[in-house]
Homo-oligomer: 408 residues x 2
């Protein structure tokens, strides 16, 4: 969004990314659960910026910033800048227990998604060959940690796979006996939604056989076991597959901005930005998207969603444009919140929109429509539509591949 908006100014734009594609993260859980293929939710960055002739795209990894010399450091090179826009996002966060990543992978990249898909499908395959009933029970137990939108959507999709997609596929096990548990440390799932919608989402999950446990904190992870605490009581749950959807941590570029440009970071490593999204003392460095920490007028932090990032990207181009033309700067950034939505499973969703709150089938259709529209390439809209329609009619998921090898 920033590169596109900046391309309309008389400037040279260089977009550096370590991947050659733009990823539509809100649908990543559908790749992790075999409903879509990676390429369906990704588009080559070069294609997207083909017509913006003053935009150059470089495949490369930004490793740091030298604010004094105005250089972006790359692995194998450096790039001078007049204005720098950092939109490097976040990774998942294990709150100091980074060794848990191996045991409970998170969901931020295509590789994360195919690894998650591999683990989910492999658990059913291993259960089919397992003769020990306790071990088989553990293989058929799936725990999702974190009750935000990603966790809710993952748990819903997992339940659909077990209850419907895999029906009749196995001979020794009944996939519908699989247990899906959603653990949330806070008092309710979807904490950024209204309490009413949280409660509805919880009931909808329970209707499709997802066990939801709120106020339940993970205290220890081991291979095949999750130890949790709920109030005063602790418990160890046996589960072969644990998926992580709790907490985020800013890109290492945030730390580099702190060291080089004196930026302040919040507890999750996100960069505190001023009202114009620039760093204090470095008006030529902007931070936008999930990596930026900024509160709204009511003092609440802006949510880490695509809408915020897109609006911030466009806003930065406005600030730069005003500086170039010598006009007065635009008013401070304000997030125009159109609302949020999450699917809970087939035909069920919650929507907390600016204009209304609703749930159920209507919310689900709205979710499908909006997410289709936000896919940047027409071909992908068509492909995703075909797959969704097909899945709806047949309960099938066409991308159920176990690929790659064990990461551990």
């Amino acid at each position: 969004m920033a590169a596109r908006a900046l391309s309309r100014l008389a400037v040279h734009v260089t977009l550096v990314d370590r991947r050659n594609f733009h990823l539509f993260q809100p649908l990543l859980y559908q790749v992790a659960t075999g409903a879509l293929s990676p390429a369906n939710i990704a588009a080559p960055i070069r294609s997207l910026l083909k017509r913006e002739k003053n935009v150059r795209v470089l495949l490369g990894e930004a490793t740091g910033v030298d604010a004094e010399r105005r250089l972006l450091l790359l692995s194998g090179g450096e790039l001078p800048y007049d204005t720098l826009v950092v939109a490097a996002g976040v990774r998942h966060h294990y709150f100091g227990r980074e060794d848990w990543e191996r045991l409970a992978p998170g969901l931020k990249t295509i590789e994360d998604a195919t690894e998650m898909r591999r683990r989910i499908l492999l658990a059913f395959e291993k259960a089919e060959r397992e003769t020990d009933p306790l071990q088989r029970r553990a293989l058929l137990t799936f725990i999702v940690v974190g009750g935000g939108p990603t966790g809710v959507e993952l748990a819903g999709a997992l339940s659909e796979i077990a209850q419907h997609t895999l029906r009749g596929d196995f001979r020794a096990i009944d996939p519908s006996e699989a247990r899906v548990l959603l653990l949330e440390a806070g008092e309710r799932i979807l904490p950024t939604y209204s309490p009413d919608l949280s409660a509805r989402a919880m009931r909808a999950l329970e209707r499709i056989a997802v066990g939801v446990r709120t106020s339940t904190r993970v205290t220890e992870l081991a291979d095949g076991a999750v130890t949790v605490r709920h109030g005063e009581t602790g418990e160890t749950l046996r589960a072969a597959t644990v998926l992580w959807a709790a907490g985020v941590k800013g890109s290492p570029l945030g730390a580099s901005l702190a060291a080089s440009a004196g930026a302040s970071l919040d507890g999750a490593g996100r960069v505190l930005v001023g009202p114009d999204l620039a760093l204090r003392g470095h008006p030529e460095i902007f931070v936008v998207g999930d990596l930026a920490a900024r509160n709204d007028d009511a003092g609440r932090p802006l949510p880490g969603v695509a809408q915020v990032a897109m609006q911030q990207g466009r806003y930065v181009a406005k600030v730069v444009g005003a500086r170039l033309s010598g006009s007065p700067p635009p008013p401070p950034f304000r997030y125009l919140d159109f609302g949020s939505m999450a699917t809970i499973g087939r035909g069920a969703a919650v929507a907390d929109l600016r204009i209304a709150r609703f749930n159920g089938f209507v919310a689900w259709m709205a979710w499908l429509f909006l997410h289709l529209m936000y896919l940047v390439q027409f071909a992908n809209r068509l492909l995703v539509f075909v797959q969704w329609a097909w899945s709806y009619l047949t309960w099938n998921r066409s991308a159920r591949l176990i690929t790659g090898t064990d990461r551990q």
Copy 2:
């Protein structure tokens, strides 16, 4: 095919595969060149055999055969059998130079295809950042070794990517300056086709700027360089990307059959089978598909194509059925050859069919139609059709993702 045909008999069938999906290999080159996603040409084996209730599917790796005790050895277990059908296929073959695999990957698995895609796209990305003109030239040179159908189809698709798909995507390089070279050790490409069609295919390739060199043998591979010999003269070609489409080698299960059941292997490690596709001295062990070596009535080896494998799979079920019912055995296996086809690029193909030989647009349409029909799942037919139609209209390839990490 064997499992499906056997399922109609009063037998218990166990299908063991180390992958959870059936792969339609003839379209693998389209994954390697970003036209299709892996899941589009793969279908979960369990889904395919869902209704065959006497068929059990096991995800597992067969490591060998104990013919005397009638056991299939698995990594982590063993499986008794009365009748064994081995259809473990072939890998690519480097003629004793297995160290070349790292330098010039072949194309047999989904992972091979995404690795090839990664290398092809990465070469253009590196060329965009390269300032040394010689090095840039090497990055924009693509060499395909082997002029069989896979090599021809790969070279054609590579040329289309360079000439059309990437047009306008780069700022420092012109992708259409990329060179694609197809090397074939024999006298003509597509040696199993009629000489007339070979010549037409060669002209069609040259029309789309693929350099074809026949009677040219690779004598040495190094990082970024291919040494070839043509008659008495040698030459070293600089190329960052070398793709291998020459030669196949039987699965290690062939060697296990040789050791355990006294099977004879041909030079490529394929198992020589009798007229009923069973091993001499072990009528209960059948070998079908690419791993089986068998000549046709004219003394020519049966080609390693899907049609042969499918007919052989069905044939084995007939033999087993006759044994069970005590009827006389069916006549020796005969391959009913409907012909072969290969695409050369957009709108161009050659077809060497039983009923006619033709080339050009009509052959191409026939190729598209037949390959769509052979995809086993209706959803995949629809998805592939959408992507082919889209690519035809826009020259775009939607699955241009660089994923995974450097294998080396």
